[in-house]
């Protein structure tokens, strides 16, 4: 906890030095830099990624945001990152078990919500990607998502004078290359921090953080039944677990697809429990439309298999009062200020 405060303090001094040390640089004026501070929320661990070898600036953030919402990153200019990662859906895609790529092609996995990504040690449901900057190339090149190649994207963006100006503002000259594209996208995505739910205010003792008796009871149930994988404060330990979902005809092997280890069969990255109100449907393939279905699964739908998470052998049994208390607590993890944050919306 103390570490977090020190880091936040040092970072703010560091960002202050951005405009005191190099005052003549118009890209780093005080107001803009202040807008774009990356702060580690109180009590949170040190993130895995803190924009090392990237460039923390408003210009880079705005470039990343433009790229994120630009359909030219897809083969037929119809799909952007934001098509399947919508701000109002905490950057998941509401009501889509799987998303539509170019020409309405369908994938096999649910579009994950994007927030607090700097704390993630891997990306995708199978954790196949090891760095936030290496993430965007995957959906861009995937034939059922954006189906585009990097050379075409660079050609398209290079023909746009607005991009030339924005790359110059962000990177010092108008060279457009894949590294800059990925770093700018990482700048935008890394800034998507969600830490202002009622739960967060409760933990910080702030106004608006008064939990009801029901919510507090649900918090205790969460701690007893869910917290070993959905660990506070990110509400995931980012490990891979088989949570007993019966395999479908897709027979997605999950983490084993990456590691080739039998021990990883049917394991998927533990998702956060934050912002669930905005991100349904749930699970790696979006098979459950609502949280009641999820809790029904944990109560009586566990599929036994050799890699099943041992803690789920007998499922999670809750009486109706416990269930409604737990749902009340989960509801305190929704961060409305995050999904409505004007900085994160599609540029007009």
């Amino acid at each position: 906890m103390k570490k977090g405060i020190i880091i936040a303090a040092i970072l703010s001094i560091a960002s202050a030095s951005l405009f005191t040390a190099c005052k003549p640089d118009p890209d780093f004026d005080a107001v803009k830099t202040e807008e774009l501070s990356f702060k580690i929320p109180q009590g949170w661990p040190i993130p895995y990624y803190q924009f090392e070898n990237n460039k923390v600036s408003q210009a880079n953030f705005e470039l990343g945001r433009k790229l994120f919402f630009d359909t030219r990153l897809s083969k037929d200019n119809t799909i952007s990152c934001g098509s399947c990662h919508q701000a109002f859906s905490a950057f998941a895609q509401l009501d889509h078990a799987v998303s539509h790529g170019v020409q309405d092609k369908l994938g096999t996995r649910n579009s994950p919500a994007l927030f607090n990504l700097n704390w993630h040690t891997s990306f995708f449901w199978d954790g196949g990607v090891n760095h936030i900057e290496s993430q965007p190339i995957n959906p861009i090149q995937n034939p059922v998502e954006m189906d585009e190649n990097l050379g075409n994207i660079i050609t398209k963006l290079s023909a746009d004078n607005t991009y030339k100006q924005m790359f110059t503002s962000a990177w010092g000259n108008d060279t457009i290359n894949s590294q800059r594209i990925f770093k700018s996208l990482a700048m935008f995505m890394g800034m998507l921090v969600s830490s202002n739910s009622k739960y967060d205010k409760y933990k910080r003792g702030e106004a608006g953080g008064n939990m009801t008796a029901e919510e507090l009871s649900g918090y205790e149930i969460y701690k007893a039944k869910c917290s070993s994988c959905h660990t506070e404060p990110l509400f995931s330990d980012f490990s891979y677990k088989n949570n007993g979902l019966p395999p479908t005809s897709v027979n997605d092997s999950g983490r084993a697809h990456i590691t080739r280890a039998a021990a990883d069969m049917y394991k998927f990255k533990v998702p956060s429990l934050r912002n669930l109100a905005y991100t349904m449907p749930f699970m790696h393939d979006g098979r459950f439309d609502n949280l009641d279905r999820v809790l029904d699964h944990y109560a009586g739908g566990i599929h036994q298999s050799p890699t099943l998470e041992p803690q789920l052998q007998n499922g999670i049994q809750l009486n109706s009062q416990q269930r409604s208390d737990l749902l009340a607590f989960l509801n305190t993890l929704n961060d409305e200020s995050f999904v409505k944050d004007s900085r994160f919306q599609q540029p007009k």
Binding site: S17, N54, K55, Q179
Partner: protein
């Protein structure tokens, strides 16, 4: 305190990066590992000649046979050479900074490069890695030889393809073979170090233009220690035992052909 010093370094780094307004901050990542004094007028050219049976490979048109007796032609041949070290007769090591090279048989300019400003001396040995070291496989977006635009990068399971050969063979299923070799950790690590003693000294000095000509013998991909039978294995495009077996095969494909002085 460890944390404190870490933060001071972080703070200093941010300060430095903020002032490099005309450069990519990314450049700050590229630390120069040279520890010896540099001479601004020296150079050493390193060339790669890709051969089959000692003769320059002819993409598409050349007809060859592997150790198993399978006929084959090569349509694509690419590999990374990284982390080059050169050693003098006084056993002084020179490490090339930002040492990442992608050799592509189809691109003439990619098959040789010149290291400049290295210490004068009689160089007797070269060491390099086939592939891209694990650090650069986990460090996010890269550029230059490491740009994923070069089609030597796996997007779904992050990591570089260390070496790649594609071609045709009537013995292979579908008459094609493709070996994309990658994997940088643990049991599936395909990185292989190569150390070659030079047959003559490469004399680096002001005004000299020495060169090291290195051959890669493509047939080695398919033999020793693992004999490749195209009818049984013609496609590798992910990490695993097959990739490791082929990396073990090509680990000894390099030799020094001759030295220019």
């Amino acid at each position: 305190m460890k944390l404190k010093s870490l933060l001071i370094v972080l703070l200093a780094t941010i300060g430095v990066v903020a002032c490099r307004k005309k450069d990519d901050p990314v450049a700050a990542n590229n630390t120069n590992t040279n520890t010896t004094p540099q001479d601004s007028s020296t150079q050493l050219k390193i060339s790669f000649d890709n051969v089959v049976n000692g003769m320059a490979v002819q993409l598409t048109t050349g007809k060859y046979a592997n150790a198993n007796g399978d006929s084959f032609s090569v349509t694509m041949y690419k590999y990374y050479i990284s982390n080059i070290s050169l050693y003098t007769d006084a056993n002084a090591e020179y490490k090339e900074s930002e040492s990442y090279h992608l050799v592509n048989e189809d691109l003439k300019d990619s098959k040789s490069f010149t290291i400049k400003n290295l210490p004068a001396g009689n160089y007797v040995k070269i060491k390099f890695l086939i592939g891209v070291d694990s650090a650069r496989n986990v460090s996010g977006a890269q550029t230059g030889a490491l740009d994923p635009l070069n089609s030597m990068f796996w997007d779904w399971n992050t990591g570089y393809i260390m070496a790649k050969i594609e071609g045709t063979s009537t013995n292979a299923t579908g008459n094609n073979f493709a070996f994309h070799i990658g994997g940088f950790t643990g049991f599936y690590n395909t990185l292989r170090w190569v150390t070659l003693t030079l047959p003559a000294n490469a004399i680096v000095a002001k005004g000299k233009q020495p060169g090291i000509h290195i051959r890669s013998e493509i047939k080695e991909w398919f033999q020793t220690p693992n004999l490749i039978d195209f009818s049984k294995m013609s496609f590798v495009a992910s990490t695993g035992t097959k990739a490791v077996n082929i990396a073990d095969n090509y680990a000894d494909m390099f030799s020094v052909d001759h030295i220019d002085n």
